[in-house]
């Protein structure tokens, strides 16, 4: 998965207000700062707090990205809110051998039973980390840590500057949450 020579497509699932769009932007900015080509965008349309939302990232180190359509067949799916699994088919269109990175406190076995999808899994209890470090169950920066741990699509260090720029005085706590998630993320092939 560390091979960004080919185009890598990432789809984020969250709820309005959880920061899925911000996560996507930060990852794209980190990739761009590494000299790669990348873009990020939200699912197009009006946004509503609490409603399921999508955000998308494409990364390629080889050539400019020309496709601007929403990502229907992602390589990687990141799920910010564990309860989305019940109402949204987050694995929809996921490529064979694709990866699901999930915020959950449940076991791999439980998740596999619920998803009924054949894919690689990565999990972290991002809500608990976010509550502990940020004092809020906002899991966007935490889940970036999980994504980086499971895939290496960008370097963790590349995210520091985009996070500082985005969050100002709240940046250091977000960086800490991201790093803790990076350390605690478990991956099952």
């Amino acid at each position: 998965m560390r091979d960004t020579n080919r185009l890598i497509e990432i789809r984020w699932h969250g709820r309005g207000g959880q920061g899925a769009v911000t996560s996507a932007e930060l990852v794209a900015q980190a990739a761009i700062s590494e000299g790669k080509y990348a873009h990020a965008f939200p699912s197009f349309g009006p946004e509503r707090r609490g409603a399921p939302v999508l955000a998308f990232v494409r990364i390629s180190s080889q050539q400019p990205i020309r496709i601007r359509a929403e990502i229907a067949q992602p390589d990687i799916v990141v799920v910010l809110d564990p309860r989305l699994l019940r109402i949204v088919n987050v694995a929809s269109g996921l490529k064979e051998n694709g990866l699901l990175v999930i915020n959950t406190r449940r076991s791999f076995q439980d998740i596999e039973a619920e998803l009924k999808a054949k894919c690689k899994l990565a999990r972290v209890n991002a809500t608990s980390i976010a509550r502990e470090i940020l004092g809020l169950p906002i899991t966007n920066t935490t889940m970036i840590g999980a994504l980086v741990r499971a895939t290496g699509v960008v370097e963790l260090e590349s995210l520091l500057e985009p996070l500082r720029h985005r969050f100002g005085r709240l940046a250091e706590r977000n960086i800490k949450a991201m790093q803790k998630a990076y350390e605690e993320t478990l991956v099952k092939e």
């Binding site: 761009i32 080509y37 020309r66 496709i67 601007r68 359509a69 929403e70």
Partner: protein
């Protein structure tokens, strides 16, 4: 050195307006407005841009305030989208007729009803005849570059016309992508100061846009037409100079793998990049297809279109707007008309697709090409084809 950063295209356009050191921005946050004017408001509020930001009460007033500012000699910028552009409509004609070089970014969107904030070119086509210089961009870099060019072109004393930069709503405006920003000193050199030859001034009264009875009105319209046609030369010079300065080159009709192509597709805006992907695949299969991308919409590049079409046998034009009850898409009508006088011309097949944010994938473009070729051989009882609608 130019800086390469990841930034939302809307914010980048605001940063380009800042690099151009605009004096006045007048805007209204109608739905759907974009982050372009929101970020400009921030830049002015933070003291990063020394400009007057006029929050008006409607888009009609936004353009009216821009006229006043430009007439007083201020470098003026605004942005709008979809319904907002429609509400500006009557004032747009005044800007071009009074030769006021306002620059406006338009996030292209569908029109009501039903209510839609998603992208297409219905708003562009409704302002086609307003006398503005109008150009399409395909990505964020082109948007930034052409905002800079727009000031230089519009404010050129040989031109003095307002300029619209059309960029697809969402597909461009909401995209974070890597963009190169030139140095302030380079931009300062590239865009000379705006000097209206006869600005409004209390000490030197002038009349602009006064009452014109039949004895003179028509002459002003002829002069306007001559002026807009002549602007093309200045546009070409500007793009040439931009290329030499910043190493990114633009032309009225961009060709992609079109040499020796028997079948050509013609698109505008961000869909062009998707179409390129389809062309690459078809070329890989040995098919003689190519792509033309229309960048300059007004003044219409007749010669460049004729030249770019060359010896192609079939030309398939995709419009993202529909002239109801008419010949289909406005761009196809104009391209067909531009080629009609040629002794040897391709069959021109019109498609309308991608309305109200409906995506067209690379596979969709392949389908369009296949269907276009089929129509060119077998004919059709329709004036044009609608692509991608559920029956």
């Amino acid at each position: 050195m130019a800086k390469r950063i990841g930034i939302e295209v809307s914010l980048a356009i605001a940063e380009a307006a800042k690099l151009a050191d605009v004096d006045v921005v007048a805007a209204y946050p109608i739905t759907p407005q974009t982050h372009i004017v929101e970020h400009l408001a921030e830049l002015v509020a933070n003291g990063e841009l020394d400009a007057a930001y006029i929050p008006v009460e409607s888009e009609h007033s936004a353009m009216s305030a821009c006229l006043g500012a430009s007439a007083a000699g201020a470098r003026t910028f605004t942005a709008t989208a979809g319904q907002g552009l429609e509400l500006m409509h009557e004032v747009l004609y005044v800007a071009s007729s009074m030769q006021l070089p306002v620059v406006m970014a338009v996030a292209n969107r569908a029109l009501s009803a039903p209510l839609s904030v998603w992208g297409d070119h219905s708003d562009v086509m409704a302002v086609r005849d307003t006398g503005w210089i109008q150009l399409f961009v395909e990505n964020g870099q082109e948007a930034v570059d052409n905002v800079l060019c727009a000031f230089r072109i519009g404010e050129d004393p040989r031109v003095l016309l307002p300029v619209m930069i059309h960029l697809d709503g969402f597909h461009l405006t909401h995209m974070i992508e890597p963009l190169l920003f030139p140095e302030q000193s380079q931009v300062d050199k590239f865009i000379p100061p705006y000097q209206h030859p006869m600005p409004l001034h209390p000490d030197r009264p002038v009349t602009m846009g006064a009452f014109a009875p039949p004895i003179i009105y028509f002459e002003t319209k002829k002069a306007q037409e001559v002026n807009l046609e002549a602007a093309k030369e200045v546009i070409l010079q500007c793009w040439d100079n931009f290329g030499k300065t910043f190493q990114r080159y633009y032309s009225p009709v961009e060709c992609y793998r079109s040499e020796d192509a028997r079948v050509l597709l013609l698109t505008m805006g961000s869909f062009s990049e998707t179409a390129m992907t389809a062309i690459d695949k078809m070329r890989g299969e040995g098919r003689e297809v190519g792509l033309l991308r229309l960048r300059l919409w007004r003044p219409f590049p007749f010669d460049e279109i004729r030249q770019a079409v060359g010896n192609a046998e079939v030309l398939i034009v995709l419009d993202r707007a529909l002239s109801f009850g008419g010949p289909g898409g406005p761009v196809c009508s104009e391209v067909r008309s531009a080629l009609y006088s040629e002794d040897k011309r391709p069959k021109v097949i019109g498609f309308v697709g991608g309305l109200g944010g409906r995506d067209i994938t690379p596979a969709g473009f392949e389908e369009i090409v296949d269907r276009g070729i089929e129509i060119s051989q077998k004919g059709s009882d329709q004036e044009f084809e609608i692509f991608g609608v559920r029956e």
